[in-house]
Structure formats: structure tokens, C-alpha cells
């Protein structure tokens, strides 16, 4: 019975594999181009397991950012996971050991699918989560293999994949004028700060200032829904 529920969760994520695979491959190619080894690229997928944060970390490593800046940026990007846990906890009872496993593997996608389905159980949640974990890590490995086949990355200008990848992640998030204003301000601030201070500082400064600006400009509006399965499903691991 438990096994069947687990498998149902695993299969419930199948429609998302199509989106995860190219994303995982792109992450690995970007990370390799940033100078991470094959082992380091895979380790991030196995241990951190958070797509947008892994992308940012690869970009930051490539810019020669310090560890503290990378950890702070990761925190800023991933602290939203608190919301998913808060939304799931009341409906799924998790004893300590199961809670550790469920937390380690929690992603936007798994949350989105579980939140929008009627099944609320640990085996179903774990099935969803592991489904993405396996797919993400296999596609990372595929991207590492593909990256090794690119002959001379610097000569080809492969480093340009960084801004393109972040642009492609950014554009679908821009739906309101405030969101556009935040993107433009953060981009401008980061560009200005990077004139005097290379590495990861500009990203942390512009990230905090930009998000604060957005919060300030929308302070009269109701807060964005913490539980928005549709957008959680669309966004990245």
C-alpha cells in the first residue's frame, strides 16, 4: 500500500521531467564553464538540490565570488522554502526522521504537485520529491558529459551562457510594472557596484536592495500568496 502510494507520487511528477531535464543539463554546462569540476558540479545537485541557487552559485564561482557571498545569495533564494513547509505541515504529520528526509528533498515542484493534489501522505510526498531528485541528478550528469564535449569554451564565448540563462529565468517572472522596476533597479545597482567591487558583493547588495524596493512599492497591496501551486510548479527547483 505504502509502496503504491510512493509510486503514485513518483509518477505524478513525470510531466515535469520534460522541464527539469534541459534545466539540469544547462546547469551542468554553466557550472563546468564556470570552472567547477565534474565532481563539484554533481555534488551541488546531490547535496544542495536547488536549481536557481545552483545556477547562481555557478555564476558566482565563475565571477570569483567569496564563499560568504555565495551562501548569502543561496539563503536569499531558498528561504522561500519556509513557506512550502508551513503550508504542508498541518496536513501531513511527520515524525522527526521522516521530516528530515522530506525537508532535504523539498522543492518548488514537489510542493506544487502535492499542494494541488488530494493526496497528503509521507509516501506520496517522498515519491514526488525523489522523482525530481533522481531526474535532476541524472540530467546534471548528462550535462557534465555534454560539457566535456565542448572543445574550447573561452574561445567560443561560452561564458555568455551565464547572462542568457539568468535572463531566461528572469523574463517569465516579470508580470507587473513593479516587478519590472525591481529588475531594472537591481540590474543597474549591480552594474554600478560591480564597477568598484567585483565578485559576489554586487549581487548580494542589489538582491537585497531590489527585493526591499519591491516590498516597499507593494506595501499597500495584499501579500503575494504563499501557496500558489501553479507558479510553484512553473518555477525552478
Amino acid at each position: 500500500m505504502t509502496g503504491a502510494t510512493f509510486l503514485r507520487g513518483f509518477r505524478a511528477m513525470a510531466p515535469l521531467w520534460l522541464g527539469v531535464v534541459p534545466f539540469g543539463v544547462a546547469y551542468a554546462v554553466v557550472a563546468r564553464a564556470a570552472g567547477l569540476s565534474a565532481l563539484e558540479t554533481q555534488a551541488l545537485s546531490l547535496l544542495v538540490f536547488a536549481g536557481s541557487a545552483q545556477f547562481s552559485a555557478a555564476g558566482l564561482f565563475g565571477r570569483g565570488a567569496g564563499g560568504a557571498e555565495i551562501v548569502v545569495t543561496t539563503f536569499l533564494l531558498n528561504v522561500r522554502h519556509v513557506l512550502y513547509g508551513l503550508a504542508l505541515a498541518p496536513s501531513i504529520r511527520l515524525p522527526w526522521r521522516r521530516r528530515l528526509a522530506a525537508a532535504f528533498l523539498l522543492t518548488d515542484e514537489a510542493f506544487g504537485v502535492v499542494a494541488s493534489s488530494r493526496e497528503r501522505s509521507f509516501p506520496f510526498l517522498l515519491g514526488c520529491e525523489l522523482s525530481l531528485f533522481v531526474t535532476w541528478n541524472i540530467s546534471t550528469a548528462a550535462g557534465v558529459a555534454l560539457g566535456a564535449a565542448i572543445p574550447d569554451p573561452v574561445q567560443l564565448g561560452v561564458d555568455f551562457v551565464f547572462p542568457l540563462a539568468f535572463l531566461a529565468l528572469l523574463v517569465p517572472l516579470l508580470r507587473t510594472r513593479v516587478e519590472l522596476a525591481v529588475a531594472v533597479s537591481a540590474g543597474g545597482a549591480s552594474w554600478l557596484v560591480s564597477r568598484v567591487e567585483p565578485g559576489g558583493i554586487p549581487i548580494v547588495v542589489a538582491g537585497v536592495l531590489g527585493a526591499a524596493l519591491g516590498a516597499l512599492l507593494t506595501r499597500e497591496q495584499p501579500p503575494p500568496p504563499a501557496v500558489d501551486p501553479e507558479s510553484a510548479r512553473r518555477e525552478v527547483a
Partner: protein
Amino acid sequence: MTFWLTVAGMVAVTFGSRLAGLSLQRPLPEAALRFLHFVPIAVFAALVAPSLAGFQGEGEARIAAAALAALAAWRTRQLWVAIAVGMAVFWLLRIPF
């Protein structure tokens, strides 16, 4: 060594956030929700801007390619299409005439 220390920090803040939500019982303040909503937007934009300047004085090719990639991302919402369009334009513009 620095790399693995950084990874340990990344794991701590990521796993910590995921575990905190499953363990906490009270919702976050509204101001925090608004702030979090804009974090990915601000961070991704901050990562794009300085990389567009580039080196070897090819900033114009990069900005043109990025503009078309953004258009492709907006129309298709596909990561791969945007990267492919951007790289294709970038390579075309780099061919010396």
C-alpha cells in the same frame, strides 16, 4: 577546500529553510512575504547586468544578443530557446566582416 566549505554553508541555509517550514507553526509576517517574492527577480537581474559588459570590447554584440534572447524567453518561456537564440546571435555578430 573553500569550495566544500561553501557547499556546507549552502546546504545549511537550504536544508535549514526547508526544515524550518515543516517544523514551525506560525506564518511569516506580510512584509517578509513581499520581500521574498522579489528576491529571485532582483538576484537574477543582478547576475545578468554585470556580465553583459563582457571583455574584449564586445559589449555591443552581447547586449544585442541578450535583447533578442529576452524576447525569445518572453515569447516561448523556454530556457533552451532563449539560450540558443542568444548564442546564435552572439556568434553571428562576432564573425569579423
